[in-house]
Chain length 148, copies 2
Amino acid sequence: MTKINDETLRTFVGYHLKRSFNVIQSDLIETLRPFDLRMLTYSALVLIVDNPGLNQSRLSQIMDIERPNLVVIIDELEERELITRERVPTDRRSYALHPTEAGHALYRETLDAVTQHEAKLLSGIAPEQLEQMIATLKLIESAKKGQA
Amino acid sequence: MTKINDETLRTFVGYHLKRSFNVIQSDLIETLRPFDLRMLTYSALVLIVDNPGLNQSRLSQIMDIERPNLVVIIDELEERELITRERVPTDRRSYALHPTEAGHALYRETLDAVTQHEAKLLSGIAPEQLEQMIATLKLIESAKKGQA
DNA sequence: TAATATTGTTATGCATAATAACATAAATCA
DNA sequence: TGATTTATGTTATTATGCATAACAATATTA
């Protein structure tokens, strides 16, 4: 059981980001499993509840995924009757996405679960420390190519 | 161009982690492309150079991936003659992984490139701020289920 | 009106990641 | 010792995430 040296990779911020995100992600996946939601379907549901009426194009932009990939996500949410696709009269190309009552209900349930998942996982870390980290993460996020 | 509200998701640390990692990841992918390396093949190469003689089992553990997924990565590095697989006399089940001279050379080249990629991307952020963030990320990483 | 752009969609491919099942070899134990 | 269990590497398979090309329908613009 010799120790492995990953000091070289540890010099990279991205390596730390990936490893810590993996920890949160795997716990989140387990948290969402009972609701039969994946991370992307969950994110989409939350954004549709919080922004009723938005279309798929805008949603794919905020979710940072390509439009084709969003189609299957929306298909799944619609099949499960968590959201509806409604033709927009003023622009008949696009669909307005709205949550159903079931969608709202699932939103509330999962919000509780996910909030508790993070609270439990991050319980050993001071809130101010997390806030500081989030501030730094926002800086990185805004360093997107083309913006920098 | 109405603004989308993602305040609910912004309450989650994991959301910030994912978004900022995506920024670094997409730039890293472009950085590695000229060397015909993906993130995983790159990580494996670095770890083999820094830990010559380790076997696939240990490598998959440190890389946090399943052994079957490592096989194809090692296959690729071996085919490109960046590493070698050598039978271990004392344990004939396992292979000792060693970098070739070409592996060493590519390691040095890519280390420079990746270092510059991060330096450029994170140039607007104070080093102390990044160090603080890394400290917090390490705390999250150690919050792994079973350890907590 | 003609050319261009946008929205949603299908098809496709690559990369990442997980599991089951297996052969070989080592370790354990009884 | 021999029988059982464990570890290592492998193949096959599947699910998921993410990107691009090509397209029909509709809007926009020049």
